[in-house]
């Protein structure tokens, strides 16, 4: 028997990350809208670098930091190692990201940009240190916590490589120019950080929200091995300059994604809750969207001649950042944020007074429109990339901007919710 221990992180630690993430998503879609004309060009452009880092760090990583500070105590069964360090990670990353993004946007990779990159690196280090401290005793949900921590190590390496590349623009510290190492930096982040994290956390949360009886720890360990194995193989191939190792590495990652989709499908089939709400539907879209970048990579590998156009890689990035990562963040926001606020506002009143349900904090109609705008925006944008039609690119970016505005409104509405408990 145990007493109902309080194992949640204080909302004041977690909530700033949600607000920051929503703001970055809005700015990133605004930049996408104002620079939609740049999309058919080469991926190494100031505006695209700014958008990518805003999406990867400001949106994806900051949201994940906030959620992990909330989730880690659930996985380990004890309080977060340090709330103060969590706040330090917010301020370091939160100050560093705008400096870094502005530097990319102006393509001025001098002092302020380097300071921004260093602050982000320190912020990530603070987060990782906190996760390590929280996991110092054997966690209860060991598998999922190992996914999160391993993803964190890859993120730390991604940031270290990124900072070195930034330095290399100004002071040649590497053997080749920074562009040569860009794919390593990108794939460390995409596969090591985002893929490992989303599969690990998704495998915990998706069955929980579906009330599914399905469990398969062996399958999840296999996914863990395949992602890490694929990434290590890819790195070894790059370092040893053996291009033949790219395909086996891609095959391992593709196998991991296929297994994760099987996992989600089986969890969905074994669910007890028939009706699936919009946030979970959006989250379930994410594994499906994972397949598209992998198929694109496989297609590019076999298509030797003519070589793929530069815009191909922009489409690849759009699918990853605005598709796969954004879909799960949009969904999971509304499965976590209303509960954090509900606990804060009504937790002490539970069973004493009538309180609204956590879901009542979400404006259902706006959420539905946000989903329509997001899905149609993504579809139109990708159609614009395939057909090279600037009107479609602009319309798609505009719809994504609308979805980000609606998302921001919903988040702000939940964050500022005041008690409506009946006496």
């Amino acid at each position: 028997m145990i007493s109902p221990a309080q194992t949640t992180t204080p909302p004041r630690v977690v909530l700033p990350f949600y607000g920051y993430g929503a703001g970055c998503f809005l700015v990133a879609t605004l930049l996408l809208l104002s620079h939609s004309g740049a999309l058919p060009g080469h991926y190494f452009q100031p505006s695209l670098l700014a958008i990518t880092h805003l999406m990867a760090l400001g949106w994806g990583t900051m949201m994940t930091f906030g959620a992990s500070y909330q989730l880690m105590p659930v996985l380990t069964g004890k309080l977060l190692w340090s709330n103060r360090l969590a706040r330090v990670s917010f301020w370091l990353s939160g100050l560093g990201i705008p400096l870094l993004v502005w530097g990319f946007y102006r393509f001025n990779l001098g002092g302020p940009t380097l300071v921004g990159g260093a602050l982000v690196f320190l912020g990530i280090s603070a987060w990782l240190f906190n996760m390590a401290g929280s996991m110092s005793e054997k966690p209860l949900e060991q598998l999922h916590a190992v996914f999160v921590f391993s993803a964190g190590i890859w993120l730390w390496l991604t940031a270290l490589v990124g900072l070195t590349l930034l330095l290399n623009f100004r002071y040649p510290v590497l053997a080749a120019d920074s562009l040569h190492y860009l794919s390593v930096h990108a794939h460390l982040g995409i596969l090591g950080w985002f893929l490992l994290l989303i599969t690990g956390v998704g495998a915990r949360l998706i069955p929980m929200f579906l009330i599914s009886k399905y469990e398969n720890r062996r399958l999840l360990w296999a996914i863990y091995g395949l992602v890490n194995g694929g990434l290590l193989l890819y790195l070894a191939g790059f370092l040893m300059e053996i291009s033949g190792m790219v395909f086996p590495a891609m095959a391992l990652v593709a196998a991991a994604i296929t297994l994760f989709i099987c996992f989600c499908h089986k969890a969905y089939k074994a669910r007890l809750r028939r009706s699936v709400d919009i946030p979970v539907r959006l989250s379930l879209l994410s594994p499906a969207l994972m397949t598209l970048p992998v198929l694109m990579l496989l297609a590019s590998y076999f298509r030797k001649s003519p070589p793929v156009e530069a815009s191909f890689f922009v489409s690849y990035g759009l699918l990853i950042f605005f598709g796969w990562i954004t879909a799960i963040l949009l969904g999971m926001t509304f499965k976590t944020l209303p509960f954090i606020i509900w606990n804060k506002v009504y937790g002490a009143l539970a069973g004493r007074q009538q309180t609204p349900a956590p879901n009542a904090l979400i404006h259902e109609g706006v959420l539905r429109w946000m989903r329509y705008a997001y899905l149609s925006g993504l579809g139109v944008l990708l159609s614009g990339m395939i057909l090279s039609l600037s009107a479609l690119l602009y319309a798609g970016a505009a719809l994504l901007f609308v979805s980000a505005m609606l998302y921001g409104y919903l988040v702000l509405r939940i964050l500022t919710h005041k008690s409506q408990a009946a006496p």
Partner: protein, 107 residues
């Protein structure tokens, strides 16, 4: 759904009170969800003891649910002390959901 008790008569009133407590995420009351494992009434110490669980250990809503259950029992038995204990032995499983609960989830 199997709830052990040493006093079936008084447990009816306790279950009626606990039925007013819902899992905020699922929207189903904790009795039909099968979270209540045992209800014991000790006349000597004037205590109502309730053993209950959560759908997942260290659920972030856990303290809100257990507090609500404690408050509901305190409302139904104002003269008694409430001894509410959280257990994960055995862990909650979907098999504990009542037929009414399954019907609710099937909607």
């Amino acid at each position: 759904m199997m709830i052990e008790t040493n006093n079936p008569l008084r447990s009816t009133a306790a279950l009626a009170a606990l039925s007013t407590v819902t899992d905020p995420e699922i929207g189903l009351n904790i009795v039909d969800l099968g979270l209540v494992y045992r209800l014991d009434f000790d006349a000597a110490t004037n205590t109502v003891r309730c053993d209950m669980s959560l759908t997942t250990q260290f659920c972030p809503m856990g303290s809100a649910i257990t507090e609500a259950a404690r408050n509901a029992l305190a409302g139904a038995f104002p003269e008694s002390d409430i001894d509410l204990r959280l257990t994960f032995n055995p862990p909650w499983s979907a098999e504990r959901i009542s037929p009414e609960g399954r019907e609710f989830l099937n909607r």
